[in-house]
């Protein structure tokens, strides 16, 4: 979230990326493992960074040519450094002259690392935020951004679940998927998802109006083994179907969260209010970005 809130929050940098580069966003965990032309290209680019030989993360920024020549590669949130690296890399690209490297379409895309929305499914955007809490340490500049950050993800609803909603039936599997994979504190990074055993309560009820619109209420209790992390919350929402097409999926969860995962430290002390909100996807890229938990697509959709 820091890149969104910090690195790319300057108008001049955004203009440079829009007007002078072809900007690409990738999940490197998957993209670099692909056994196809795109995976081979990305591996060629990232391993030109000398520090990666020492086991550094492949996360970061890469300014490169279409033939794989790396101009700049780094992993640092400094806006000053981003500005300088961009200027240096663009100068190197201009000095090199025209790159005429022919790019062939992938003859065979590695489907092991592609995760597609189920046929006939719907995409919902998910936003989370800490509403109030007590932090024990004063924040750094970046820490203050983390504490005020909005977490993002996408929820997939399968065709069968849409059909159930159209008939005024709440699909239990959808409720479990929301609870286990989306009612998380991802405001400062990716936390562990809840396991089936950690889902201690997950109750949804719906009321169907005469026009077919559906009001949703619910409550969840999600508690990690040992009790060091948990979320107890109420839910309320409104769902509108027209035939089998989802027209509205507004849902809110609000309750007490406590604890943190290994990659999302600096949580407020004790219990704090965490809210999660859902809406039918409006962003044009939403359908291309799978839910984080869909790395195991079968487990995500089954949501046991």
């Amino acid at each position: 979230m820091l890149d969104r809130a910090y690195s790319f929050a300057e108008q001049d940098l955004a203009a440079t990326l829009r007007d002078e580069t072809i900007p690409v966003a990738l999940d490197v965990h998957y993209a670099v493992r692909r056994r196809d032309a795109s995976g081979a290209f990305l591996r060629r680019v990232v391993y030109q960074r000398p520090e990666l030989e020492r086991g550094h993360t492949q996360q970061g920024f890469y300014l490169c040519a279409a033939d794989g020549t790396l101009y700049e590669g780094w992993n640092n949130r400094s806006v000053r450094r981003l500005r300088q690296r961009l200027a240096d890399g663009l100068a190197a690209h201009r000095a090199r002259g025209e790159v005429t490297h022919a790019v062939q379409p992938d003859p065979a895309i590695d489907k092991k690392y592609t995760r597609a929305l189920p046929d006939g499914g719907a995409v919902v955007e998910v936003f989370s935020r800490v509403l109030d809490g007590t932090w024990t340490k004063p924040p750094t500049e970046l820490g203050a951004l983390r504490r005020a950050a909005t977490g993002r993800d996408h929820l997939w609803i399968a065709r069968g679940e849409l059909n159930a909603l159209a008939e005024g039936v709440w699909p239990d599997r959808l409720g479990r998927r929301i609870a286990r994979f989306h009612l998380i504190d991802n405001t400062r990074g990716e936390p562990p998802m809840w396991t089936a055993r950690e889902r201690r309560a997950c109750q949804f009820a719906i009321t169907r109006a005469a026009n077919g619109d559906v009001d949703v209420t619910g409550r969840v209790a999600l508690v990690a083994k040992g009790g060091h992390r948990g979320y107890e919350a109420a839910l309320r929402g409104a769902v509108v179907m027209r035939g089998a097409a989802l027209q509205r999926f507004d849902l809110v969860s609000c309750g007490d969260h406590w604890g943190h995962g290994p990659f999302v430290r600096d949580a407020p002390a004790g219990r704090f209010r965490l809210a999660v909100a859902f809406r039918l996807a409006e962003r044009d890229y939403a359908a291309r970005i799978p839910p984080q938990a869909a790395r195991d697509r079968r487990r995500y959709l089954a949501a046991r």
Binding site: T21, I22, P23, F41, F61, A234, V252, Y285
Partner: protein
């Protein structure tokens, strides 16, 4: 578990509160997600690629 139910007014208030602005600055950048197509575009438009990578998708849960 003592969880306060959410009434209609609170639901609308919270939902509105959590929705992000129409387009934050980072969203004014048209991020491509297909690397092969982006490479072809880079050749055609004589531009370099700027690749933003994270463990997890940068436009999603990271």
């Amino acid at each position: 578990m003592d969880v306060r139910p959410i009434d209609e007014a609170k639901f609308l208030e919270l939902h509105d509160l959590l929705m992000p602005a129409a387009a934050e600055i980072w969203e004014t950048i048209a991020w491509r997600t297909d690397l092969a197509a982006a490479r072809a575009e880079a050749v055609q438009r004589h531009r370099p690629l700027f690749v933003w990578t994270m463990n997890g998708h940068p436009l999603g849960c990271t």
